[in-house]
Structures are given as C-alpha cells and as structure tokens.
Symmetry: C2
Subunit: 213 residues, 2 copies
C-alpha cells in the first residue's frame, strides 16, 4: 500500500542503503547499524538516512540503530527485489550486447539480484536467431507475445536514437511500464510509465568539473 508520494530522490537512495546492508550481512559481524554508519557508507548524512527511512515506517530505535536483517528485508520488499523481475532488452548493438552480458552475469552470480533479462530483441534480421548469453535475438514484432508469456515488467532500450521512440511505443503498448533508456534522446511516454535515462555523457561531463586548471 502506497498512500504517500515518495520523491524520486528518496527512491534513488534506497538501493544504496540496501547495498550497504547487504554488504554488512555478508560481513556478518553485527546485527545493528546506526544511521551514522549507514549514512557514512551510503555517502549521505545520518539525518537524511533517518528522514528517508521514516517514509516507510519506524525501523530504527533511538540510541540503538537499525536491525540490519529487518531493514534489509523491508528494503527488498519496498523495492520489489524479494522476487525475480523478468526484463526485456531491445537493441543488440555493441552497448546492448554488453548490457545483456553484464546483467545476466550479475543475475547468475548474485542470488539476491533478482533483475533477470529473459528476452532480447533486435530489428536487424541478420542478428535475429543469434544467441547472447543463452538468449536468442528475436524480432521486435514478438514483443507483445513474449511480454505476456514471460511476464515481462521492465525493459532496457539500447537502440539508436532515431528508433528509440518507436521501440518505446511498442513496449508501452505491450503493457511494460518501467523503462531504462540508453538512447541519448528525449522520449515521450504516458504518465503512468516510469522511464530512467542512463546518460553516461552527463556523468563524464560532471567529472570534468573537477579538472584542475
């Protein structure tokens, strides 16, 4: 049940908190973590940790900290990472192929990852039928059928800029509401569709700020 509207900035930090807790679980040397420590490891202030997590309930105890296992389970649930999420990828160019390999390997190595690319599509007939990490490349016309069959809820778009809007329309038409876009172009989607634009250029540009004259 989500009655409150949580800001995108808060949501952005949740996977970071989760990762800190997963690492603490792997290290396994303690049961509690203070907001101070969680903030330090996540790169934010302890006050922000407490404020962010308060949106979802009362997890911490003053002067004691958070129970690592409880908060980790709760964050997994909030992020829907307590179950497998079937994902499609469209566009098997060099970036698309690299992304399939990257995410398939993450999935197979980390049992808690749960983000599972289950189908890949490309409009190029030459590529169709080829195998990438055990998945055959399929024609984009098959997206609606496969989406239904495999329960696909999320898609990664790695096609050239001029094909991106068409592909996004097809994915949205197939009922997919969560999109991760790598095409460097502004896309139009209905209001109930969430799209994250992975813009690697913006990250490099940000880094350039720190160049010393």
């Amino acid at each position: 049940m989500r009655t409150k509207k949580i800001s995108a900035a808060v949501v952005r930090r949740l996977p970071i908190y989760l990762r800190v807790l997963e690492e603490a679980t792997r290290d396994g040397d303690k049961e509690l973590m203070s907001s101070q420590e969680l903030g330090e490891k996540a790169g934010v202030s302890p006050a922000l940790v407490r404020k962010d997590l308060a949106w979802f309930g009362e997890f911490g105890k003053q002067g004691v900290g958070y129970d690592i296992e409880t908060l980790r389970t709760e964050l997994r649930r909030i992020l829907h990472l307590d179950r497998d999420i079937p994902i499609a990828l469209v566009g098997v160019g060099s970036l698309g192929e690299a992304l399939v390999r990257y995410f398939r390997r993450r999935y197979s190595l980390d049992p808690g990852f749960h983000l599972n690319i289950v189908a890949v599509f490309d409009a190029d007939p030459e590529k169709q039928g080829q195998d990438i990490e055990g998945l055959p490349v399929q024609a984009p016309e098959l997206i609606p059928e496969r989406a239904k069959e495999l329960g696909i809820r999320m898609a990664i778009v790695a096609v050239p800029p001029d094909a991106a809007q068409m592909v996004v329309d097809a994915l949205v038409g197939a009922g997919i509401r969560l999109l991760f876009n790598f095409a460097p172009v502004k896309l139009t989607v209905p209001e109930d569709v969430h799209i994250i634009n992975a813009d690697l250029s913006l990250e490099l540009q940000r880094l350039a700020y720190y160049l010393e004259d």
Copy 2:
C-alpha cells in the same frame, strides 16, 4: 578560482542545466530563459536552479531570466567543457568496447562534447594491436608514457572487478585524477582523486520500486 566547496549534488545538476541551454541554443528561438523554464526542463524546482547557479555568480536578472548564451558559455567554462579533454579507457571487454564506440561517436557528432577518448588499453595480448574506432588497443604498461604524451586527464575503467584496483592504482600513478569506474567494486583512491562509480545495477533496482503489485 574556486574558493567555495561546491557540493556533489550541485555539480551533478550543472551538466543537465548545460544540456537544456544547448538545446535552447539549437532551437534558437529566444535569448532568455526563466529559472521556471530551466527548472522544468531540468526536472528541478526554479528555486533550486537559482540557488545552484548563485554559487558561481550573478547570472540571472529578477523578472527577466538568464541570458542563454552567457549562462551556457559560463557553464561550459565551469565544467571545463570549453576545450578538449583527452581520456583513456582501460578494459576492452564487451562493455569497454561499447563505451569506446559510444563516446567516440558522441565526440565526432557533437562539436561541443569535448570528451575525447584518445587511448585504449587492455592486458590481454590477444586484444593488443586490434583497432577500435580508429584506436589501437595498447598494453597497460604504456599508460604512464601515453598519459604524458597525450595529456590524458581522465580515465574510464571497464575491467573485471578483480583487476580494477590494480588498474586504478596504475592510472593514479600516471597522474590521472578523474576516474569513471564501471567495475562493480569499491575502489580505494587518494583524497585528491575523484571517482564516479557508474552503477547500472543501482539504476535498475531503483526502477523496480515503481513496479505495481
């Protein structure tokens, strides 16, 4: 001259503002932009736009807005994107190769991009000598020599996790202070080195929050 310490969150938004202004320049239909419009297009509040830009000087005029050309030139200068920045990439696996292609094409298509991959390295002798987008793959031992010769100031790390720290040490040893890391591993760097971790998994996990039950 940088006397104030600007937060990473502010720096993160500067390339987004710059992009909005570049687009406005391309459309070329007006000379001024309000903080309202700039905020809307950048996905932040007008108040935050004004607050962010105030760190760098007095750019806007109340009730009039920002002069697009002036602010754009100023942001380019602040981000050091008023000149070419030579970049090295280490690790020519599927992701590394895709990144070289992606950034080289961005650079050749957009004369304002200025982020220029000029050398690629890989430890695999089989890959050395191969050509990627016009660049020969070189042995990592050559990093210090090439860094000096080509004036490399920034590096992209796309090696497997277990090689990442060694590669980062070599890059830092060669005087490179700006790193963009794609290896899903925590790296240790001296205090004067800036490292951005591109974590595609965190982005996908964030998207999963919006899954409907």
